[in-house]
Amino acid sequence: MNDIMAQLKENVIQGRITQDDEGIDDTLTGPGVVELTRMALDSKIPVKQIIADGLTAGMEIVGQKFNAKEYYVPDMLASAEAVSEAMDILKPHLEGSGVASRGKFAIVTVKGDIHDIGKNIVAILLKGAGYEVDDLGIDVPTEKIVEYVREQKPDFLGLSALLTTTMLVMGEIIEALSAVGLRGSVKVLIGGAAVSEEFAREIGADTYCADGFEAVRVLDSYRAE
């Protein structure tokens, strides 16, 4: 049992999603995070322990390595993606496991904009940090976003835009949410090359995030409040 958890933690650190992943180097072989998570469930290891001692413990080391500049963004993303895959496997077993939800985060690239590299990275990092993430895609009409918020009731809404023309749509979305009384139900975060903290204030967003790491910090700080 301990062996599975130690391997799971090590594979999270190496960002090996499956047994076919090469990881950081070729030194680690055998099952990856996906296989080990399934093995842990088969071995009746409690879900709470899998998350705490395997996934979260691994991500803590990854964070330390990142802060020490031993790891770079691709390493962080690989580990986050591995954790995110593990969470998908654990999802059906979460109810009654004693694991509290960290919250639901919806992310979208606004109407008129098709850029999604930043959006995808934010989604991977948040999912890896344990948030439930819904990726609504690119070039999504405002009405569809409003409808999603009404029906799915996410805790957080992340809006992404790269262009100075499409960033204006972010303001329209916030106005549309206000118009139907939904603005107070969701924290709105914005990000993208053209936007800024000042712009976030102008359009009435809750905050601006410079990158995915800041998004994780911001969401964690909301949970702490």
Binding site: L77, E81, I117, N120
Partner: protein, 513 residues
């Protein structure tokens, strides 16, 4: 294993094969007619004995001769000249192995600068925002000393991109004389770097002392032949087409002892050479071939590098302009000519007309360093730290240059495209194509750690003003805090016992102090 340098598999060349042949033929014609003026009687005798047409100039003062060199002698010299030359080092892993046919570039320091440029930082406050303070450098010039040369060799030892050390500081201490200069400059250099050391000779009387010092360090006479930790550079032909007396004398003696040597010529297009490209190229090629021919007559098989330092004349001052674009063109051409003969090439790049580190300096040196490196000279004096047409050495600039050469070395790496690579890429593309994120980031990590990716520029700032100088200065201080691998106590003691003229203060073991 010798140092790797960087192999430029497809070198940049400006001349077509027929143009190379035309320059070669024109140079041979110059060597036949008008030939060279020779101010050294021994060289005139050596050429005459070998079959050159030598005529003395009646009642000339100083005495001189006209030496007309036939094609046969030049061809024999080219045949006898080694095509592979090894320049050894105190640490044999720092040896340089140069093959005239192989465009493998080694980057080295160079020149003998009179001025050492210290750097000091002063704090300045932004007028519009008093809370913003920046550090800006002030540069303080002073005469170079032997302590500075030690420091320069020490820095060079720790600059990763640097493959060898040409002494780059003219030692001007009060107790340095013409007689003791050579032994002290070689000892200061060899005692502070384990890389190859090259310098010019100040006094012929000191040649055997310098060689003896090198033999002691290398482990004996045979060991020095096996691992020639020093080499010399001679500019024996002054442009246009004149064998100078003293340097030619030194060159003959160096060749007779079989020490690796550079025959270097440094004409200025527009003053001491024709302004047109074909003109300076024909002349510099003739001058180097003349020197090489003399060396191979004196001692066939002497390792001689084909050394070329052409430049364009500034039209506003009639001094040399190393920062000019044409200077790089001439140099690239010369590298191609050396490769035509299959003889390792000593070349120069990165020389700047700028007086201090800054934008002009970066632009000029980076331009020529990239262009000339691409042409594949084997032994490239690339002006680490040099400014003001090589009259000033700035250690800060040397550290900045190291960052430039990290970039250039990455740029010159050969592409890896083969079946295995293509198969791996096809698999990657198909896999990523089927994922929702469509990102290749998962494949980056292993490559990132394999050394295949270039590092970030090390002196990147994060504010509105750049922090390049300040960060480079910190790096320079870090380097100087690193230990020096000196010559061991026993050899140092032997050197001080056998070699006269060494300054006691250079002895790290206190014996001679």
């Amino acid at each position: 294993m010798p140092r790797e340098g960087i192999l430029v598999e497809t070198p940049y060349e400006r001349l077509t094969a027929p143009q190379v042949e035309m320059i070669h033929q024109a140079s041979l014609e110059i060597l036949r007619d008008p030939g060279l003026i020779c101010f050294n009687g021994r060289a005139a005798d050596i050429f005459a004995a070998a079959g050159a047409d030598v005529s003395s100039i009646e009642k000339s003062d100083p005495p001189h001769w006209i030496v007309r060199i036939p094609e046969r002698l030049v061809n024999e010299a080219i045949d006898n000249a080694p095509k592979t030359i090894t320049l050894g080092a105190r640490n044999p892993e720092n040896a340089l192995v140069m093959n005239g046919d192989e465009p493998r570039v080694y980057f080295v320091t160079g020149s003998e600068t009179n001025i050492w440029l210290d750097t000091d930082f002063k704090a300045y406050t932004k007028k519009s925002d008093q809370s913003v303070e920046i550090q800006f450098p002030e540069f303080i010039p002073r005469r170079g000393t032997v302590a500075d040369l030690c420091m320069s060799a020490h820095i060079s030892e720790h600059l990763d991109t640097l493959d060898g050390f040409i002494r780059n500081v003219n030692i001007q201490d009060k107790d340095i004389t013409e007689e003791n200069k050579d032994v002290n400059k070689f000892f200061a250099s060899l005692n502070n770097t384990t890389k190859h050391v090259q310098a010019g000779l100040t006094a012929l009387s000191q040649l055997d002392n310098v060689i003896r010092m090198a033999q002691i360090i290398a482990g004996g006479e045979d060991a020095l032949k096996e691992n020639p930790i020093i080499s010399l550079i001679c500019c024996l032909v002054k442009s246009p087409l004149q064998f100078v007396d003293d340097t030619t004398d030194a060159f003959i003696e160096i060749c007779s002892r079989g020490i690796p040597v550079v025959v270097s010529s440094a004409p200025q297009a527009g003053s001491t050479a024709p302004i047109k490209e074909a003109g300076i190229l024909t002349q510099i090629n003739a001058e180097v071939l003349a020197g090489m021919t003399l060396g191979q007559i004196v001692n066939p098989g002497t390792p001689i590098l084909y050394g070329t330092v052409p430049s364009k004349t500034r039209m506003d001052t009639l001094t040399d302009s190393y920062g000019a674009v044409e200077t790089s063109q001439y140099t690239v051409d010369c590298t191609q000519m050396a490769r035509f003969y299959g003889i390792p090439n000593y070349s120069t790049s990165g020389v700047s007309d700028a007086k201090a580190p800054g934008q002009q300096s970066s632009i000029e040196r980076l331009f020529s360093n990239i262009a000339v490196s691409m042409s594949g000279p084997q032994f490239l004096h690339c002006a680490y730290g040099l400014l003001d047409c090589n009259s000033v050495f700035s250690p800060l600039q040397a550290v900045l240059d190291d960052a430039h050469f990290t970039m250039i070395k990455y740029f010159l790496k050969s592409p890896r495209i083969d079946d295995a690579e293509i198969n791996e890429i096809l698999s990657q593309i198909r896999t990523v194509f089927s994922t929702p994120q469509k990102l290749y980031i998962g494949y980056v990590r292993k490559v990132m750690r394999s050394g295949l990716l270039s590092p970030l520029y090390p002196f990147e700032g994060d504010r509105e003003h750049d922090a390049v100088f300040h960060l480079a200065y910190e790096r320079m201080k870090d380097i100087l805090a690193k230990p020096v691998e000196h010559i061991d106590r026993e050899k140092t003691s032997q050197i001080y016992n056998e070699i006269p003229g060494l300054l006691p203060r250079l002895n790290n073991y206190d014996e001679g102090r």
